[in-house]
Symmetry: C3
Subunit: 304 residues, 3 copies
C-alpha cells in the first residue's frame, strides 16, 4: 500500500524516484490512467493551493475526482474519520487525499483501510507533498542537495514545512539553519541550528520563509506585523545581501509585507510561484506511485 | 418521464428490472452514455454517502456532473425549488437528483419540469434508492424475498428507510417486524408488526438497524445513548443469538455503540459496507432508466 | 489577451462575432478543445445561474473545471485576489471566471496575470455575459437591433444589467427607456430616457424587468413588495397592453409577484428561460474566444 503520510517514511532512494518522475511531468511527459480510477479529496480545513493542486494533478492523470468538503460531509453527523474513509472506499474511491487539523490523524487509518492515503497536511505535523515540491524546486536549481546551506525563517514550532523539510534536507546532505523568534523555536526538531536571520542571509543558498499563521495564533499573541517584518522578515535591504545565485522560497499563501517585502514576492530570486507549479508535478508523481499496482475500487480497476 | 420519487410508484416488475440491471453493474458490466449528458445534484441537506454515491454512479456512466450545494445556490436569494430546477433544465441538465428537508417536495415539480427527478431523500418521507440498495443486498444473499422475515429496529416514526422498506418488502413477499421505543412507533405505517428486539433476534433473516438521528431530535428528548444500546441496540450478546445465515444491515452513518456495538460494524454478518457498494450500482441502474428515451437538454442529447 | 471585463471594451463588430458564434452553438454546433485545458471558476458571491451556466459551457467545450468557492479558498487566510489568481495560473488554469462583490475588482489583475479573465459580475458594475445573452435573445427574435425600442424597468441604479445593456443596445442602434422608482434612478447612466412603465408598455418591443435585490437593500428601505408590483411590476393587466410581438425578459432569479406576476413568468411573451439557455451558448463563445491563441498553463496547452 503506497501511502504517503510523512517524509520520514521515505528512503533517499524513494525521494529521488518521486522527484525524477515529477521532473518528467515538468518536462511535459503525459501519462493517463488506462482505466476509470476515482480519487477522493477529503479536506477538513480550507486550502486553495493544496486542494486545487491535487485536483489539477488528478485531472492531468485522467482520474475522476470526488471533492468531499467537510461542510457537505457526514462529519456533521458525528461520523468518525475511519467510517468516512471506509465509505469512500465502498463507494469506489481508489485513493484518498486527506487534510485534517489533528496531528497524525492517519494513525486511525493505517492498516485498516484498503486504499492508499495521501496526507495533504495533518495539524502541526506533516505535509509531505509540500516538502517534495520544495525539494524538486531546489533540485531544479542546484542539481544536488549535497553541501547546500538552507535557512528556514519564521514560526519553526508550528510549521509542518519546517519539520518535514529540515529532516529531509539533512538526510539528503544539506545543512539546515533556523531563524525564529524565541517563542517559536522548536526544541523537538533536531535537524537545524539556530542563528540570526542577518547572519544567515549572506550565507545560505536557499532561504525558506515560513508563513505567519494568524489563524493559528491568538490575536493577543502580540507579534506585531511591522516589527516581525523588520526583525524576522525578508526586507528589501536584506535581499541585497543575499549570496549570488541564492533563491527565495515560501509555502504560500504569503503575507505580503510580513514574511517578505511586497516587492520581493516576484523578484528574480523568488521561486514562490515556481513552487506552486512544481506542486502539481510532485502530486502527479505521488498519485501515480500510490495507484501503481492497486487493485481497488468497486469495479476492480487497475493501473497498467 | 422516468422519475423515481417513492417506492410505492414502482411495480414488483419494475423493482425486479432495476435490481437486475444493478446486479449486472455489480458483476462488472460497463455502460457509457454515447452522448454528452448532464446530471445535476441538488442537495439541500448534507449527505456524504448519498451524494457521492450518486456522483460516482454518474461518472461511471460517463455523465457530466453539476453539483449544486444549497450554500452556493440562489435559494439564498429566495428562489423557489421549481424555479431552481427549471433553471438547471434550461442550462442543460438532463436529469436532476434532489435531497430536500421538506416531505414530498417533489409534488411542486411533477408534471411541470421537462427532466426526470430522482428523489435522494425528502424530509421524513421517502428515500427510494436507499430502499433499492437494501433490496439488492438482501437479494444477493437470499435470492428471493418470499417468506423472508425482516426486523427493522429503531426510530420507525422518523425513518425514511423504515417507511420505504417495509412497504416494498411486504409487496415482494417478506414479513416485516418493527422493534421501537414507544415514542418512535409509527401508527401510520401498516406494513409491520411490533415486537421486542429480543423476540425478533433469533427469528429474523435480516436485521435492519436504524440510525438514531440526533440531528432530528431535541437534545432534551432524553433517550440516553447507553440505555438505548442496551434496550434497542444490537449488543455483542444479542448478535450471538441471531439465526444462522442471518445478516445485519444499517443505512449509515452508524453511531457506533448506540444502534450497534462497535465490534459488530464489520463482523461477518454485517453487510453495512456492502450496502454502500450496492448503492452505486443501484443508482447507476436508476440513472440509466431515468435517461432512457429522454430527449432533453439544450443540445437535444439522447441516450441510445 | 482576450479578457472579457465590460461591454464597453467590445466593438460592435466583436459583439456581432460573439453572437454569431453563440448562435452556431445554439444551432447544435459542437466544438471541443483538442488539448487538456483548465478553467477555474472563482466565485466570491453565490450564483446558481451564472456559475452553472459557465460550468456547463466549459464542459460542453471539453474543458477541465476547477470550482473555487470562496468558502474553501485562502481568501479566508487574507490572501489578495491577485495572489489567488496567480496561484490558479501557477497550478495550471488556462482561463479564470470571476464573480466578486467589489466594483472593478479586475483592475487589480489586468496586465499582471498571464491568463484571460472573464468577468462574471463585479459589484454593482458589469456583467458582460449577461448582457451578451440578452442581446442574443433579442437578436433571435428581431434579427436586428436597429430601431428597436427597449424598456428596462426596476432598480436601474444598482443593476449591472441596466448599465451594460443600455450602453450596448444604444451602440447597436436601439433606443432605451428606463422606468424606475425615484430613489433607484441612476444619473450616471446616460444611455436611457426615463418614462412611466404604463407609458412604455404599449410602445416597447422588449421589456426587461430587473430583479428587486432584497439582499442589496436594507430591510427598512421600505419598498413594499405589493406596492412595487402594482406600481413598477408587470401585472397581468399591463401585459395585455403590450405591443403585438413584443417580448418579456428578466435576468433571474425572479421574485414572482414582485417584478412580474406569477402567471406571466412562463407566458408566451416570456423569454426568461430562453435567456438561461442562451447563457450557455454565449459563454461557450466567450470561453472559446478567450482561449484562442492562448499558450498558457503549466503544460503549455494550446487551442488549435
Amino acid at each position: 500500500m503506497n501511502n504517503l503520510l510523512t517524509m520520514s517514511e521515505l528512503t533517499e532512494c524513494e525521494i529521488a524516484e518521486i522527484l525524477q518522475e515529477a521532473q518528467r511531468f515538468a518536462d511535459g511527459a503525459i501519462w493517463k490512467s488506462p482505466n476509470q480510477v476515482f480519487a477522493a479529496n477529503l479536506f477538513y480545513e480550507a486550502s486553495t493551493r493544496t486542494h486545487f493542486s491535487f485536483e489539477a494533478a488528478q485531472k492531468r492523470l485522467g482520474l475522476e475526482v470526488l471533492n468531499v468538503g467537510v461542510e457537505s460531509s457526514s462529519v456533521q453527523k458525528g461520523e468518525t474519520l475511519y467510517d468516512t474513509v471506509k465509505t469512500l472506499e465502498a463507494i469506489g474511491a481508489n485513493v484518498v487525499v486527506i487534510r485534517h487539523p489533528q496531528d497524525r490523524y492517519f494513525e486511525e487509518l493505517t492498516g485498516r483501510v484498503g486504499i492508499p492515503v495521501l496526507n495533504a497536511g495533518d495539524g502541526c505535523g506533516n505535509h509531505p507533498t509540500q516538502s517534495l515540491l520544495d525539494l524538486l524546486t531546489i533540485q531544479q536549481e542546484f542539481h544536488t542537495f549535497q553541501g547546500l546551506q538552507v535557512g528556514i525563517a519564521g514560526d519553526i514550532r508550528h510549521s509542518r514545512v519546517a519539520r518535514s523539510n529540515a529532516e529531509a534536507l539533512t538526510k539528503l546532505g544539506a545543512t539546515v539553519y533556523f531563524a525564529s523568534p524565541e517563542e517559536w523555536k522548536d526544541e523537538r526538531n533536531p535537524f537545524g541550528t539556530y542563528a540570526s536571520l542577518d547572519h544567515l542571509i549572506p550565507q545560505v543558498d536557499v532561504l525558506m520563509l515560513l508563513r505567519v499563521q494568524h489563524e493559528r495564533h491568538d490575536q493577543g499573541a502580540g507579534v506585531q506585523m511591522q516589527h516581525y517584518h523588520e526583525t524576522y522578515g525578508l526586507t528589501v535591504e536584506r535581499e541585497q545581501n543575499m549570496k549570488p545565485g541564492s533563491i527565495i522560497m515560501h509555502p504560500a499563501p504569503v503575507n505580503r509585507g510580513v514574511e517578505i517585502a511586497d516587492a520581493l514576492v516576484e523578484c528574480s530570486r523568488s521561486r514562490i510561484f515556481k513552487q506552486m507549479q512544481n506542486g502539481v508535478y510532485v502530486r502527479m508523481a505521488v498519485l501515480k506511485r500510490a495507484l501503481s499496482g492497486v487493485k481497488g475500487g468497486i469495479a476492480h480497476e487497475v493501473f497498467a
